[in-house]
């Protein structure tokens, strides 16, 4: 069952290669090459790699065991941990890991997910920086009342210590954008074990990431990659103390709807919105960037724009700018739009057509652009609505697809509810206050930056530590 540490490296698919390599599970014993494997294909349907499929029995027994003790990093001095995370970041960005150079890695992820290669490369930087700053980010989330780490002697008057809610975090990842893997790294800084179930579309990123963490000194039993089918994914969530689940509404609803005894932090669609008060012209660049940057596939991309003045003029100007984006295969340097297998692209197009019934199409009568090899690039779409409360404002599709609606001051913050980010241009501080007062809006930015702005140390959907840690009273010890 156990194999020696991975020595693949000669058989990664390149042009003309026939024998796909295997991505093994990364387990406490090192690596695990299962008999049962799934073929990961590129957007044109060509096989790229075989992905191990870990059986449920293995996952449940291993997690049962690992939950019983804490990670070896749990009590490490902060400086040591910070150093390890930093060198993991540098290894992930620069080293050959599992036989993959960063360049090969970027090309494979682009071919498999359809995310433009330049976006994939930026995601690598995002992940490396998140590692570099993970300890600081975790520290920023620490409540002021809590004693610094390592000092747990309480005075007579009592003290507050910050404790982990569990020992093991399960992550059910998605493959829409590689940087989803920047979002669980704080858990390592907080001394958690982490078990990641990679998406079938992008097992490459967590594979190299976990190999990087191991090369930097994290124990094999503290960072795990457990590729598996849906049934076993349930076992992974069940077997974790806490879990993060990435995915669409259906996935997130399933795991948060009382099904799981494990507390789950959902990472669903962002439904990011932009609000333009006053003239929109100065902000057109920021809107285009918010909609189409990152390939338009991130939960941080803008899905809807609400406009106070000249909504039609804005929609047409936005459409003109977005229509300049060209369909290219994802591995090409100038690619900007996401690609999918033709059948999936058609399904997205159908979902759009269905969702857009009754709306005015400003751009994107045809979304799926046939690239001739079995894949399609998804070209931007802009639709104009007449009501800022219309349901379409929450319809998030995996490409630059945006809904534009009129807004007026008397509508206030209500149409912006349920947004991971609201990007706003306004001179009215009361409006900003109203947005901040709306509990279902997570982050509020000005339009001097795109909605996907997220440097290390800023909370994405709260700090992860808010989910992983709790404050505990300690007295008389």
């Amino acid at each position: 069952m156990k194999t020696a540490p991975t020595t693949v490296g000669t058989s990664w698919p390149r042009a003309g290669a026939v024998q796909p390599a295997v991505i093994d599970a990364l387990v406490p014993e090192g690596t695990y090459r299962t008999t049962r494997r799934e073929t990961v294909r590129d957007v044109a349907g060509a096989p790229l790699v075989e992905l191990a499929q870990v059986p449920g029995l293995y996952v449940t027994r291993m997690l049962d065991r690992l939950r019983g003790s804490q990670a070896s990093s749990a009590d490490q001095p902060r400086a040591l941990l910070a150093g390890r995370l930093r060198s993991a970041g540098s290894a992930f960005a620069s080293d050959t890991l599992g036989g993959l150079t960063p360049q090969e890695h970027h090309r494979l992820v682009a071919r498999a997910t359809g995310v433009p290669v330049s976006v994939v490369r930026t995601a690598t930087t995002t992940i490396a920086e998140a590692l570099t700053h993970a300890v600081d980010t975790a520290e920023r989330a620490r409540p002021r009342a809590v004693l610094p780490r390592g000092r747990q002697h309480a005075s007579n008057s009592g003290a507050v210590v910050w404790r982990r809610r569990g020992r093991l975090l399960g992550v059910n990842a998605s493959g829409n954008h590689p940087a989803v893997h920047s979002l669980w790294l704080e858990a390592l800084a907080l001394g958690y074990r982490v078990a990641v179930r990679p998406s079938r579309r992008d097992p490459f990123t967590p594979y190299r990431l976990i190999l990087a963490l191991r090369s930097a000194g994290f124990a094999d039993e503290d960072v795990l990659l457990l590729p598996c089918d849906h049934g076993v994914a349930d076992a992974l969530i069940h077997g974790s103390d806490l879990a993060m689940v990435f995915g669409g509404d259906e996935t997130v609803d399933r795991y948060t709807g009382g099904w799981s005894r494990t507390p789950v932090l959902p990472q669903g669609p962002g439904r990011v919105k932009i609000l333009l008060t006053g003239p929109w012209e100065p902000h057109l660049d920021a809107v285009v960037d918010s909609v189409a940057g990152l390939g338009g596939v991130s939960c941080l991309n803008a899905t809807a724009v609400l406009v106070e003045q000249d909504v039609r003029g804005f929609a047409e100007a936005l459409a003109e700018r977005l229509s300049a984006l060209r369909a290219r295969p994802p591995e090409q340097e100038d690619a900007q739009l996401p690609c999918l297998p033709m059948a999936e692209a058609r399904a997205v197009e159908d979902a759009l057509r269905h969702g857009a019934a009754g709306c005015e199409t400003v751009l994107g009568d045809v979304v799926a652009h046939d690239l001739g090899d079995g894949s399609a690039a998804l070209q931007p779409s802009v639709h104009l609505l007449d009501d800022p409360m219309a349901g379409q404002l929450g319809l998030e599709l995996p490409f630059p697809c945006v809904w534009v609606a009129p807004w007026s001051m008397d509508r206030g913050a209500a149409p912006l509810r349920g947004s991971l980010v609201v990007g706003v241009s306004t001179k009215d501080p009361a409006l900003v206050d109203a947005l901040l007062a709306e509990p279902s809006i997570r982050n509020v930015y000005g339009l001097d930056r795109p909605t996907w702005w997220l440097p290390p140390g800023m909370p994405h959907d709260g700090f992860l530590a808010e989910f992983l840690m709790r404050s505990t009273a300690l007295a008389g010890t």
Partner: protein, 366 residues
């Protein structure tokens, strides 16, 4: 006289080798003659575009039969009893399929067939070193299913006592179909608690269980210790098991205890014990007897596939007690080379078909 001679192969002594084509021809005579025939088949004679008594001569010819098993969901069981028994057949039971793909199908299990099936099972167990004189724990369904009867026979014929834990697979499937996985989990826990009582208080030398229950048992360290300390062989059956799980059970959870699969179908009235050696890491099952044979076919063209290729498993049962030819099972498998001289195909890497007859298959725990 000629007829009686031709039919003799149906009553051949348990330890004699029978010619398979002779068996096919005798079964056709028996089940389709007005005097000895089975009412179920006689009623369907008109619908056949061939004459079974003259046209079906070989195992391959069994493929001429249309898919008839759906009729077993509604046929009165009396119609399944061949007239040739003259009202003296000993019926051990009426057994039902799991109901995975709709209303359950029913078959009759006659005592003379039980003798044949058990003779084969005992031979297979002897070849694999199954112990005698130990008690068995069987986790699996009773009620309308053949499982409880067969495991009881297994234990009894090896001079053991069988402890049973009851289990309703249809309830588990219903829970899963309705999205109540939590409820199915609770039920399996309930079943396992009962197994724990038996393992904790009785001497158990052999265990027979469907893979999901075996996996649950394997998660419980106390139960694993109780098994390791006394059990000499483990048999899994009822649903398929992936090779990685099987290897974990063999190498990590129950090292030193032989673990064998038993692949059968209620609709074939028989089961095959796993070959002692795997092929490419996969468990292999040879057609269990001349009476129960497999054919792996291309689901679209219906043609038998070549060795090494995957297809849908078709099962045939031929005996004095029953005729169940050309039944497409809910499984897909890879055909592997059969042992020398065998007529039926051998199968490896058996898995449930994604969907079957348009109804989604929920395999559940059995």
């Amino acid at each position: 006289m000629k007829t009686a001679e031709a039919l003799a192969v149906l009553d051949a002594a348990l330890d004699t080798e029978v010619d398979q084509d002779e068996l096919v021809q005798a079964a056709m005579q028996w089940h389709f003659s007005p005097e000895t025939g089975t009412p179920f088949w006689l009623d369907r004679l008109e619908q056949l575009d061939f004459n079974p008594r003259s046209d079906v001569r070989t195992v391959d010819d069994l493929r001429m039969f249309p898919q008839f098993v759906d009729d077993l969901r509604y046929a009165p069981v009396e119609s399944l009893l061949p007239r040739g028994y003259g009202g003296t057949a000993e019926v051990i039971g009426v057994f039902e399929s799991g109901g995975t793909t709709g209303a359950p199908k029913r078959v009759l299990y006659l005592a003379d067939w039980m003798e044949r099936e058990m003779a084969g099972a005992m031979r297979a167990m002897d070849e694999r070193g199954y112990p005698r004189g130990v008690n068995w724990l069987s986790l699996g369904p009773s009620g309308p299913h053949d499982y409880a009867e067969l495991t009881d026979q297994h234990a009894r014929r090896r001079n053991g006592v069988r402890f049973a834990v009851d289990f309703d697979p249809r309830w588990v499937r219903r829970c899963l179909r309705e999205g109540r996985g939590e409820e199915a989990d609770r039920y399996l826990d309930h079943v396992l608690t009962q197994a724990a009582h038996v393992l904790g208080s009785q001497r158990i030398g052999a265990i027979q269980a469907p893979p999901p229950l075996l996996e649950r048992l394997a998660r419980d360290e106390r139960l694993v210790d109780l098994v390791r300390g006394q059990v000499q062989v483990i048999t899994w059956c009822g649903t398929s098991m992936d090779p990685d799980t099987r290897d974990l059970l063999r190498n990590d959870v129950f090292p030193g205890i032989p673990v064998y699969g038993l692949y059968g179908s209620t609709m074939a009235l028989g089961a095959a014990f796993e070959r002692p050696a795997t092929e490419n890491g996969d468990s292999v099952f040879d057609s269990p007897s001349p009476h129960v044979t497999y054919t792996v076919v291309d689901p679209d063209s219906d043609k038998p596939v070549a060795v090494g290729e995957r297809g849908q498993v078709v099962m045939h049962h031929l005996s004095k007690s029953a005729l169940l030819p050309n039944n497409r099972e809910r499984d897909v498998a890879r055909r592997v080379a059969e042992p020398p001289g065998a007529k039926g195909h051998s199968v490896a890497d058996v898995r449930p078909l994604e969907t079957f007859t348009g109804v989604p298959v929920i395999t559940g725990a059995y």
